[in-house]
């Protein structure tokens, strides 16, 4: 019998204490943040806010104190993240650094790299972008063509990375590229990761507007960009293993089901104090999915904390989470009344438009729906 289990994570009184603290902080800090800005979820960028979180000790929460971290548990971090996201806090500036770049450096970096970079991330002063996708490399990550070749002074990089969110606000990128030519029999070999200071010569960052007209994406072009010897992260040739090992951390967090949460909040504002039966049923169905996903996602956090490898469970959370994130705008548009416009109805329409335009990305970023389902099928023994 195939049995995926999602046991409740152990009780975490420290986490509940932190929740109270975070709610009080956000209520004050975000008092004037309008719904349309909250709707940006983890795309909202505010470096000042990120620094404030750093000052509160809320970045690098689980990392060793020696590297600027706070040695708190993954479950406490989970509480912090879900509270930030549910409130629509602008976490985009530090998001990637705190979620995946920092943990990668912690795991694979040299002592010098850790001491140089992690305390700056934890202070909210150093932001990271992802350097994986390319023009001809989406889901098939091993097909990257960007290349780093050995030179006397270090590594010389040529190629271009695409869809790097907020690269124009970032200090660093973790670059995933080839360091050896493709071996058709071992496509996953000869790939490496580098810590790239984006201010170095030979690196150009160009904007790509998304369909809503915003600049989140960028193309990052490397033209004979020279990286120092010590820019390599982990072992040369181990890039594939290093990248895939982090996916459970990246795929199961609360950001995988809360992207449209602000719209649901605003929908309730429009419906309250009382809703008709049709609206109650629709909201109840969405609520059931969110409540179940939160249980699953917290359970995965508990498994990660316990040192297990819940890669399949994480893929399920992300697949199901994107569905509910995409369903919220579909449900909301059906419940909105076509009455004469008011200030409240205009605001709701604005948030709905935002969610509608961003929904397609929810089942693309961080592993497409089809890739996730392929991973699950592999877990079932079908491939």
């Amino acid at each position: 019998m195939i049995h995926f289990a999602f046991p409740s994570p152990p009780a975490c009184p420290e986490g509940e204490a932190l929740r109270t603290e975070v709610r009080a902080f956000l209520e004050k800090e975000l008092a004037d943040r309008p719904p349309i800005d909250r709707a940006q979820s983890w795309n909202g960028v505010d470096a000042v806010f990120s620094r404030k979180l750093g000052q509160r000790g809320w970045l690098g929460l689980t990392w060793p104190k020696r590297y600027g971290g706070h040695e708190r548990s993954a479950l406490e971090r989970y509480v912090l993240l879900e509270e930030l996201l549910a409130a629509g806090a602008p976490v985009g500036a530090h998001w990637i650094a705190d979620r995946q770049s920092g943990p990668s450096i912690l795991r694979f970096g040299t002592e010098e790299q850790k001491l140089a970079i992690l305390p700056r991330i934890a202070a909210g002063e150093c932001f990271f972008g992802i350097g994986m996708s390319e023009a001809d490399t989406g889901s098939d990550l091993a097909s990257v063509r960007t290349r780093a070749g050995r030179a006397d002074e270090g590594w010389r990089v040529n190629g271009a990375k695409l869809w790097t969110t907020n690269a124009h606000h970032c200090h660093y990128m973790i670059l995933f590229c080839r360091t050896r030519p493709v071996d058709p029999d071992r496509r996953h070999a000869g790939l490496s990761q580098f810590l790239v200071d984006l201010s170095r010569p030979g690196i150009t960052i160009r904007p790509i507007l998304n369909l809503a007209g915003e600049r989140h994406f960028n193309e990052v072009v490397f033209e004979d960009a020279l990286l120092p010897h010590d820019a390599i992260l982990g072992q040369e040739g181990d890039g594939w293993k290093q990248v895939t090992g982090e996916l459970a951390f990246e795929r199961s967090g609360p950001e995988r089901f809360l992207s449209s949460f602000t719209l649901l909040v605003e929908l309730l504002r429009a419906l309250s104090p009382a809703a008709d039966e049709r609206a109650e049923i629709a909201v109840g169905r969405l609520g059931a999915q969110l409540i179940t996903l939160r249980h699953m996602s917290r359970s995965v956090a508990g498994m990660l904390e316990a040192g297990a490898d819940p890669a399949l469970e994480a893929a399920m959370v992300k697949d199901l989470g994107a569905l509910v994130e995409q369903e919220i705008p579909e449900v909301a548009r059906d419940l909105i009344a076509d009455g004469p416009p008011t200030e409240a109805s205009r605001k709701l329409a604005e948030v709905l438009a935002y969610a509608t335009m961003h929904a397609p990305s929810f089942s693309l970023r961080g592993g497409t729906r089809e890739i996730l389902r392929g991973i699950i099928a592999r877990g079932l023994g079908l491939r």
Partner: protein
């Protein structure tokens, strides 16, 4: 029972008491509920043999208080046995007998022996002499139950009564799986009666939790058998499970099954806690499991093709129960309205705290 369940703390890494109990239950059901046995289940002898085995394990009284014959297994662990029952599409009133013992126990009453049931809906009046008149419909296994437990509000009182089989007239009916769902009528019946120390909504939630667990278990079995079928069935020269279209469908089925399991476990915890969030937590679970049942049954049949649509193939034992159980103790819309109204009442600022309270 004490040999199987020991409440002593287990050393870390050891199989828990709950694991052992679930394994013992699975063994009994697996041995007795063979495909051949299912065909003869209508014949009373097989049913009686299986029920006796369940009684030997103590399962029907798993939710009763220890002083009334329960064996002190924690409520959430006892409920998890219903997921095992679901994995075998158990055609017996185990959930209903457990639920009856649970409710009677909370009211300080001892459950009669033998199979019991709970009426999901009923109308009831109590006369001055304490005798009960009324009827109940869609009663699971009503014709087989020694007593039918009814919780109702009558003349401003909330009472729990146990109507004995001898006092009930039964009109037989069945759900889509063919399992008995009977109408029972009684007039001036002498019944055991006590004040009910819980609401009608609590009872509905506890019943819905039993169905959520059974649905989750049945979905696990359906996922396993559909995956196996896709590995064995060959078309175009290879196993159909090698085709991406089939793999994607099976991944959806596995995801629905996993999320139903998560939701059902949440419901079991809520019944165990028996507190403020019982109804919202069970609502979320019953909605999720009901939705997953519909999606899951459809995928299972699509992958199985024509053979899965036959009486001969065992898939229908499971899918017909998925369709039946999702309707019992409140369909998705009933619970969604309740949960939605709870969330709307919480308002925009209270929505997130209402979710994290569960």
């Amino acid at each position: 029972m004490s040999e199987i369940y020991s409440p002593e703390p287990q050393p870390p890494g050891a199989e828990s008491a709950g694991d052992m109990l679930r394994a013992a239950t699975a063994r009994v059901l697996g041995d007795l509920l063979t495909d051949a046995a299912r065909e003869t289940l209508a014949d009373g002898a097989t049913t009686q043999e299986l029920w006796s085995k369940l009684e030997e394990l103590g399962l029907p009284s798993a939710l009763a208080p220890e002083k009334f014959g329960g064996f002190g297994v924690p409520v959430a662990e006892a409920l998890s046995l219903l997921a095992v029952a679901g994995e075998y599409a158990l055609p017996l009133p185990l959930a209903d007998t457990m639920l009856a013992g649970f409710l009677l126990g909370k009211a300080g009453m001892e459950a009669p022996s033998g199979p019991l049931t709970v009426a999901p809906r009923a109308e009831l009046t109590i006369d001055a002499g304490g005798r009960a008149t009324g009827w109940a419909w869609d009663v699971p296994w009503g014709r087989h139950a020694r007593s039918v437990v009814i919780v109702a509000e009558t003349a401003g009182r909330r009472v729990i009564v146990a109507v004995p089989q001898s006092a009930a007239k039964v009109e037989t009916g069945a759900n889509v799986a063919g399992d008995p769902r009977d109408t029972i009528r009684f007039e001036a019946a002498v019944v055991a009666i006590a004040p009910a120390p819980f609401s009608l909504l609590d009872v509905r939630a506890a019943g819905a939790a039993t169905r959520a667990l059974m649905l989750a278990g049945a979905l696990r079995a359906v996922t396993a058998m559909t995956t196996q079928y896709a590995e064995e069935r060959k078309q175009f020269g290879r196993a159909i499970g090698k085709f991406q279209a089939i793999q994607q469908s099976l991944a959806v089925l596995a995801g629905q099954s996993a999320s139903a399991t998560a939701a059902a476990d949440m419901a079991a915890d809520a019944v165990a806690a028996w507190g403020q969030v019982l109804a919202p937590a069970v609502a979320a679970a019953k909605i999720r499991c009901g939705e997953a049942a519909g999606t899951g049954a459809a995928i299972a049949h699509q992958v199985h093709g024509a053979i899965g649509f036959t009486r001969e193939h065992r898939l229908h034992h499971y899918t017909r129960r998925l369709w039946a159980w999702r309707d019992e103790y409140g369909r998705e819309a009933e619970w969604a309205r309740r949960l939605g109204s709870h969330l709307v009442a919480a308002g925009p600022a209270g929505l997130w705290p209402a979710i994290t309270a569960i």
